[in-house]
Every structure is written in C-alpha cells, then in structure tokens.
C-alpha cells in the first residue's frame, strides 16, 4: 500500500507544480488570454479558433512580435461549459495577468465570462454570435461575428428579391436558434414577411421529419428558414429533402463551415445562407477589398491544419489582428489605451468584413459585410 500512498503524493506534487508553473514566465511579453470551447458540443467553433490563434501568434513572434515584445498566448478549454469558462476567465485575470482577451466560443460562455473582464477592466474581444454580448455597449467588451438579427435581415432581403413572402421557420433549442428565431419572428411584419408555420426541434435531436412534415402540410409556404447551430441544421437539410419539401431552404451563418455540406450531402445543394465572404474567397470580384485577406487566411489555414476553412476560425484571426493593430497604435500594452484604440478601429479589413468600431458600436459590421451564398455541387457559390 505504500506504493499507492507514494504515487498519490507524487500526483499531488505534480499537480501543484503544474498550477504554479504558469506563473513563472518572464514578464517581458504581451499576454493574450483565451477561453475557448475546444471540446464538447461547441468544439466545432473552439477547435478552429484555437488553431488559428496558435498559428498566427507563432508567426507574429517569428517576425519579431509587437512593439518589440513577443506575444504570449494562454488558451484554456472550457469544454463548452459556461461555469468552467468563468473559472478559467478568473485564472486569466488573477493568475496569468493577461493584457487582453480573445475568448468565448459559444454565446453562453461568452456572456458568462463578460463580467469577469469588465470588473478587471481588461479589453475583451468575443468570438461568439449573440448580439446581446455588445448590446447595450459595454466599455471593455467587443465582438467579431455577425449577429442573429443581421442573419434574419439578410435572408429577408433575399426573399424579397425573389418575391417570396410566406415562410416557415424551424429552429433549434440551442441559444443561437432560439435568439435568431425570436429576431426573425419580430422582424418579419416590418419587412412584409408572414411566418405561417413555426416549428422547434431539440438541439441534440437526430430526426426532424415530424416537424418538417408539419411544415410541408401547411398550405402556402414559399420558403423555409432554419435557425440553428451545430449538427441540427445538417439533419434538417437531409430530412427536408426526404419529406419531399422543394421550396427554397435558408440557413443562418451558424452553419458556415464545410462540415455542414459534408454532413448534409447532396441535400445541401440549393440551400442559401448569408455568410462571411471568406467562404467564397476565390469567387469574389477583384474589386472586393476582402478578397486578398480572405484568400490569404484560407490558404494558410488549410495548408497548416489540413482542414477546410470555416468563418469561426476567421473571426479569431480578425480579432487577433485587430488587437495587434490596436497594440501598435497604443505603443504599449496599457489596458485603457489598448481599449481606446480598439474602439477607434476604422476600415479594418478582416475575413468577416470591414470593421468600423465606435463608442456606440462595438461590433462594427453592417449587412454589407454579409454575402448571400448558395450551395452548388457541394461547394459554396456566391449569389450575385
């Protein structure tokens, strides 16, 4: 039994060493903290985000760093659990004493950690979708991705172009699906759109045919909008064709990664969605200011990771470079100065659009940053 006791002791010592090790690094760096959902249900967001950050921080350091200092990256995995995210956020602030934060894969985590960084007066750039994160504007909080109301707005714009006004909505019970459904339903009357059928499925469900059959049996549905995230929309898309629905199907930008097309297979052809220009980088007209950045990121990410690019990783890239530019303009890692400089970001060209921050807008994107995309032959194609 002594062996057990000894191994317990060694285990405890190793743990303690691990916890203290992080505090012992040199101070002559700019520390960027990050809490991402690298595992768990939201890992399809966190995984590319983590890879993107690691890839670029390595490159920036190889080129000499920022303001003569190397960047030091602290990434923790919250396992898609908001409470764990909160603990790691505290660790970034109290233990690692980071200078700025790029964090929050899912909206739940992003909202849960917001308070920690606000109290610590630390610039925090969120990578999650919910509009709520920067509404109302909070001094220290910024956000990269397009929001739910933007997705509805862009879809309605396209519907009106096609003279379709009567829609069915099918949404997931995840945070994204719920919020977007609420936005679309609220926005519809103002845009002259009628929601004739409103169905809901569980975020982890594997069969949506009952709900889709209900939509199919509703008279006068001219198009269907699917508000959802993760694998749900892929199953909806397959079942959509299987129950024999043939009116246009719209997805949100929550599905803008290649795995959606792979999972939905042939059924994905003909689906439209608003998304960042990154997905159709090569098809953009040469006059498009986003083209160069988008192609650069896409090529680099796909070469280094061997995985197809997604807009989620793209937002991590944009956040990092927006922060780096702010650091350069501030000339130091002084938190208040860096925050002010992030807020002064103008005409920043990222993969997600042209960002113009202001004191009243900590998102800095408008509907023009979206492209309407249609899936053709298993690939993204730009709708002109």
């Amino acid at each position: 039994m002594t062996i057990i006791r000894r191994s317990l002791l060694i285990g405890a010592a190793a743990m303690a060493a691990g916890m203290f090790a992080s505090a012992a690094y040199a101070q002559n760096t700019i520390k960027i903290g990050s809490v991402l959902s690298v595992t768990g249900p939201a890992s399809f967001l966190g995984d590319p985000e983590k890879k993107t950050l690691e890839m670029y921080v390595r490159d920036i350091n190889a080129a000499g760093g920022v303001n003569g200092k190397k960047l030091e990256l602290f990434i923790y995995d919250d396992g898609s659990d908001a409470n764990k995210a909160r603990t790691f956020a505290t660790r970034l602030v109290e233990e690692d004493k980071v200078d700025a934060v790029i964090a929050g894969s899912g909206s739940g985590s992003a909202l849960a950690i917001r308070g920690v960084f606000e109290e610590a007066a630390l610039p925090y750039i969120s990578l999650a979708g919910a509009a709520e994160i920067v509404l109302p504007v909070r001094k220290w909080v910024f956000k990269m991705p397009h929001t739910e109301p933007m997705s509805c707005g862009k879809i309605f714009e396209d519907l009106k172009k096609r003279n379709l006004t009567r829609v069915g909505i099918i949404s997931g019970t995840d945070g994204w699906g719920k919020a977007m459904r609420a936005e679309c339903v609220a926005m519809a009357p103002k845009e002259g759109i009628t929601v004739v059928k409103d169905e809901i499925y569980g975020a982890a469900d594997s069969d949506m045919t009952p709900q889709l059959t209900n939509i199919k049996n509703t008279a006068g549905v001219q198009a269907v909008i699917n508000c959802g995230f993760g694998q749900g929309p892929a199953i909806v898309t397959r079942n959509y064709r299987q129950v024999g629905l043939s009116v246009p199907l719209y997805q949100s930008h929550g599905v803008s990664s290649k795995s959606y097309i792979n999972l939905a297979g042939e059924a994905a052809n003909g689906v439209r969605l608003p998304a960042a220009a990154l997905l159709v980088a090569e098809q953009l007209p040469d006059s498009d200011p986003l083209k160069k950045v988008a192609i650069e990121y896409k090529t680099k990410f796909e070469k280094e990771t061997g995985q197809p690019v997604s807009t989620f990783g793209g937002h991590a890239r944009d956040a990092l470079f927006m922060l780096v530019e702010a650091l350069k303009r501030a000339g130091s890692a002084d938190k208040a100065k860096v925050r002010d400089e992030i807020e002064k970001t103008k005409n920043f060209i990222g993969t997600g659009g042209v960002i113009n921050m202001s004191a009243t807008d900590h998102l800095g994107l408008d509907l023009n940053s979206f492209r309407m995309i249609e899936i053709k032959n298993g690939d993204w194609s730009l709708v002109l």
Partner: protein, 279 residues
C-alpha cells in the same frame, strides 16, 4: 422508430452486461459512437463500407473486452455505485482517446441503399430506416440463437440466473462475463454503424445514448432483454410522437414523465421480475 431501434440495441447491451456482472455500464453509448466513428474513418481511408464496418465492430469489441479486464474485473469487490462511476470514468477516457486519435467533428456515412424515400400512404420512409429495422431484428435473432443453441450462450444465461450456482457447476464465469462485454460492445457498434447514416455521430455522442439506453432498460425492467427492446422502441416512439404532435421542446420531458408514471404503477418496470430481498 429508427431512433427507438437504436435505443433498444443500447438497452440490450446494457442488460447483457448487467445480467452477467451486475454492472450498469454507462460506457455503453461509447460503443455506439465507436461503431460510427471507426467506420467513417475506415471508409474515408478507402476501405469498402462493409469492411470498415466490420473493423469498427471488432475495435468496439476489443475495447469492450479491455474495459472488462482492465477496469471492471480488478474492482470486482467494489459496490455497484463504485462500478458505475468506474464505467463513467472509462467513458470519459474512451471519448478523450477518440477525440485525439480520430477527431472532434461530426461525421456521417452514406446510406447503404440510397436516399430516395418510399412513400407509403402519405408517410415517407427511408431505405436506411428499413436497414436499421432489419439489422436490429437480425441482431436479436442471432442473439437468441446464441443464447439458446450454444454452450457459451447457455452458460451466460446460467450465470445471469445465479452466479454462484453457475460457478459450482463448473462454468468459468470470468470467461462468460468477458463474452458478455464483447457481445454488448459489438451490438452497440452495430447500432452505431446502422444509425450513423441517419443520425450522424461524433466523439461526444455516446453520453446521451447511454442515458437513453439506460432509461429504456429500466423502463422495460432491469435485466430483462425483451423488456430492454420494448423499452427502447417505446421510448423512441414517445419522442417521435411528442415532437410531431405535442411539443418538440419538451419531447424528452414527455418521455421521462411517461417513464415516471410507469415506475409509479409498476416499480419494477414493464417486464421486471419482483425481486425479493433476503434479510
């Protein structure tokens, strides 16, 4: 119905292991996940679908055997609750390894016989759903034959009925329990292979399945294979029904409320035997 058939397979695997070793194996869902994931990666690496599927079932069976030999058997004398926690620890381990060795993305498999749905009286039916139903029936028949026609199968039944008595008659209960783990794992993996074209899979898909399978096994009456199958099918039908006609949001709630009502009136489940506690 497809979903119910998969629950039934998980519940059946649950029951087999429970009968032979009194362990409620919460890692049962991981076998289903492995079935789907390994098949996908084998298929993506260029193996024919059938070969990849067999490979996946073998992998799952080996994992099942290792689970028993490395984690359950050394803790033989531990209490049932401790054993449950060990299987939960093992499932975290298996998930972690899968995420590293394979990956963390969702994956799908091609349907075995195309995607064109049949239309029968207004309702649509997928070829793959038929495959699932047919496959599950085959598994049940094969299992029944194994139990009633082979010596190993009979000793499994004997061990389930009374372990000490089985040991006294010269049955190697260790080998029998190993067999139960291997068969359970293989059954789970077959479920994964059959269902993945419809339900998709990823490294974290096992938790929910284990939960639903456990609920199905309990609904049918813990330890009763027939009950497990019926419990699984009933659970699947309940979910489908409430998603289509009542509320999708409270689909799982409807299922659990029905389970609670059943347990209140039949505390041993639908087909459970009355157990007598000896004082």
């Amino acid at each position: 119905m497809t979903v119910g058939a998969i629950y039934a397979l998980v519940a059946l695997g649950f029951t087999l292991i429970y009968n032979s070793s009194d362990v409620a194996n919460f890692a049962q869902g991981e076998f289903v996940m492995l079935g789907g994931m390994v098949t996908f990666f084998g298929y993506a690496a260029g193996l024919p679908l059938f070969v990849a599927a067999v490979l996946a079932i073998v992998v799952a069976a080996v994992v099942g055997l290792l689970l028993y030999r490395l984690a359950i058997e050394p803790a033989r004398r531990a209490s049932p609750v401790t054993l449950i926690i060990i299987t939960i620890g093992a499932s975290i381990f298996i998930r972690g390894v899968t995420a590293i060795v394979l990956d963390k993305n969702f994956h799908s498999l091609p349907s075995f016989f195309g995607n064109e749905p049949f239309v029968i009286g207004g309702a649509t039916l997928l070829p793959q759903s038929l495959v699932v139903m047919f496959g599950v029936s085959l598994v049940l028949i094969a299992l029944w034959l194994f139990m009633s026609r082979t010596l190993r199968g009979k000793s499994l039944l004997a061990t389930a009925a009374n372990r000490t008595a089985a040991q006294l008659t010269g049955i190697n209960t260790r080998a029998v329990t190993s067999t139960a783990f291997v068969i359970s794992a293989a059954i789970g993996a077959i479920g994964g292979v059959l269902a993945t074209p419809i339900t998709l899979t990823y490294y974290d898909a096992g938790t929910l399945l284990a939960l639903k399978g456990f609920a199905a096994a309990v609904l049918g009456g813990m330890g009763n294979p027939l009950g497990a199958v019926v419990g699984g099918l009933v659970l699947g039908l309940l979910e489908q029904f409430s998603a289509g006609y009542l509320s999708s949001q409270y689909k799982d709630a409807v299922a659990f409320i029905v389970i609670l009502l059943v347990l209140f009136t039949m505390p041993q489940g639908l087909f459970g035997a009355k157990s007598v506690e000896r004082v």
